[in-house]
């Protein structure tokens, strides 16, 4: 039996259901809206598991599901050495979001990541502590800054309302996902760098260790080797 893990609520779940439906596979929640068990029609040998999108990376790596749908941002943040555990079967074309680094819009002198590096250094000298970046993407942000040799900062954990931390004086910069940039603008922040830290979208992943005839057959059933109907 191949187990497919899918986000258990919200737009991500609905769009995932639509994506599979376009490929002739009907996913649905069993019973009431509140019950987290799923039904799957049109793909024999596959069972549906509804999970929080944030837990899907861990479940995939642990081998408790063979296939899973989640954002590339969550997977790469949560799964150290992800390429050794999972393979990207299909980008799904929705749930687009960029992980970006943003600073106050009023910082006219901060146009590039090099400016940001210089500002972090001056900030530390002037304030006696390292410039704070609020984020929940600790690993991705640290790897990004380390590759660019930015060292005079500290990360502060923020699990929500991250854009508000600058005005609340609990951080000087933020690193978060954005799709339209609305929330950033509303909080007087601007993006630094021409390329985001990561471009993310909903993606169908497979556990590398589970690859084999059974998985291939399921992938065929789901229709990844057929053109979509929409």
């Amino acid at each position: 039996m191949i187990r497919l893990g899918v986000p258990s609520k919200g737009r991500l779940m609905e769009q995932t259901f639509d994506w599979f439906a376009a490929r002739g596979v009907r996913l649905s929640r069993a019973g009431s809206d509140r019950e987290y068990s799923g039904r799957i029609e049109g793909a024999e040998g596959v069972s549906l598991v509804l999970l929080s999108a944030g837990e899907i990376p861990r479940e995939l790596a642990a081998g408790r599901i063979e296939l899973g749908v989640t954002g590339t941002d969550l997977l790469r943040e949560k799964l150290a050495g992800w390429r050794s555990h999972v393979v990207e079967l299909a980008p799904m074309g929705f749930g687009h979001a960029d992980l970006i680094l943003a600073v106050p819009n009023c910082w006219r002198d901060c146009e590039t990541i090099d400016d940001f590096a210089a500002i972090t250094r001056e900030f530390r000298r002037n304030h006696g502590f390292r410039l704070r970046i609020a984020t929940k993407y600790h690993r991705l942000v640290r790897a990004y800054l380390s590759a660019r040799e930015v060292a005079d900062y500290q990360l502060v954990d923020s699990q929500g309302a991250t854009e508000g931390t600058v005005a609340n004086l609990t951080a000087e910069a933020i690193a978060d996902i954005t799709s339209s940039g609305e929330t950033l603008r509303a909080n007087h922040l601007k993006i630094i760098g021409t390329e985001p830290i990561l471009r993310s979208q909903a993606t169908l992943f497979a556990n590398l260790a589970a690859r084999g005839p059974a998985l291939d057959a399921s992938v065929k059933l789901i229709g990844l080797d057929r053109p979509t109907r929409d």
Binding site: R76, A80, G81, W82, R83, S84, H85, P104, N105, C106, W107, R108, D109, E111, D114, A117, A118, I119, R121, E122, F123, N126, H127, R130, H138, R139, R142, A143, L145, S146, E149, A151, D152, Y153, Q154, L155, V166, A167, L169, E172, N187, H188
Partner: protein, 320 residues
Amino acid sequence: MIDKSTRQAVGQRILSQFRQAGAVEVAPDILQPAETLLDLYGEDIRARAYVTHDPIRGEMMLRPDFTVPVVQMHMAGGAEPARYCYLGEVFRKQDHGDIRPEHPRENEYLQAGYELFARDDNADAEVFLLFSRILAPYGLTARMGDMRLMLDAIRGLPLSQIRRETLLHYIWTPARFRSYLTRFSAAPRPRDFAPATGPWTGLRSQAEMQSRIDRLSRPTDAPLAPEWSEGIRRLLDISAPAPQAMEELRQLACDMPEIGEAVGLVARRFERIAAAGHDLNLIHFDPTHGRQSMEYYDGLTFSFTAPGRDDWPPVATGGR
């Protein structure tokens, strides 16, 4: 996988050699206050050390190395010269990035260490020779550097205080260092910043920003003449067996008298090491050895690595 009792036995053997060399054994706590370590190593240590929280003592770290607690203990009441040794577990997270290596590094391992607090130059040779003697059976490659060379070279550049401090600060990040050196060697290019819209927000003040803008939009520094950056590059390029590297350093010191004193120190250190019967051709010298991994040293740096295994972590490292 080597079992723990075998490791203990090897560790104890090394520890007893440290004791014979006159060191007093110390045993710092495994739980260390996070603040000092964070201040010294920066965000990087958070990625590498296990951070845990105590309701009374606050943020604590599982000992990522011994140097900090031993230095603190010494500062609190030790007299110089002092020699300490220790053996115990250190804990390091190993983040694999995108790909899990075939042989991931371990998360906890035994570290044996020797700390010598002394102001005389003899101490450097003493520690290097001690490590070299203990590690002799393993056929390792010895590498050595001395950060003082680069620090003195930068301090000797005809630059404004602010530019000199910038180069000194970025000495540990090679790409950023190179880009600043290039910038300071070129004709100043005033920057022009677009006006900002919207309200002021955040802790950084308008005055802080204005002082940076003033500096960048009206640069007054004359460019560094090419021979200066050329000298720095020559220093960075030195990487050879010690006798040859010393020859290159002496030649460089003729053009850069600022490093003369440091070159003399390194030469005397090598004389002491040679006098102890050590073949200097077996030591590889690179002035900025350890530049990216041993940030707190400003003098001697050294490491012993397994030959032909550049991907392996060093067996031993040290410095002043």
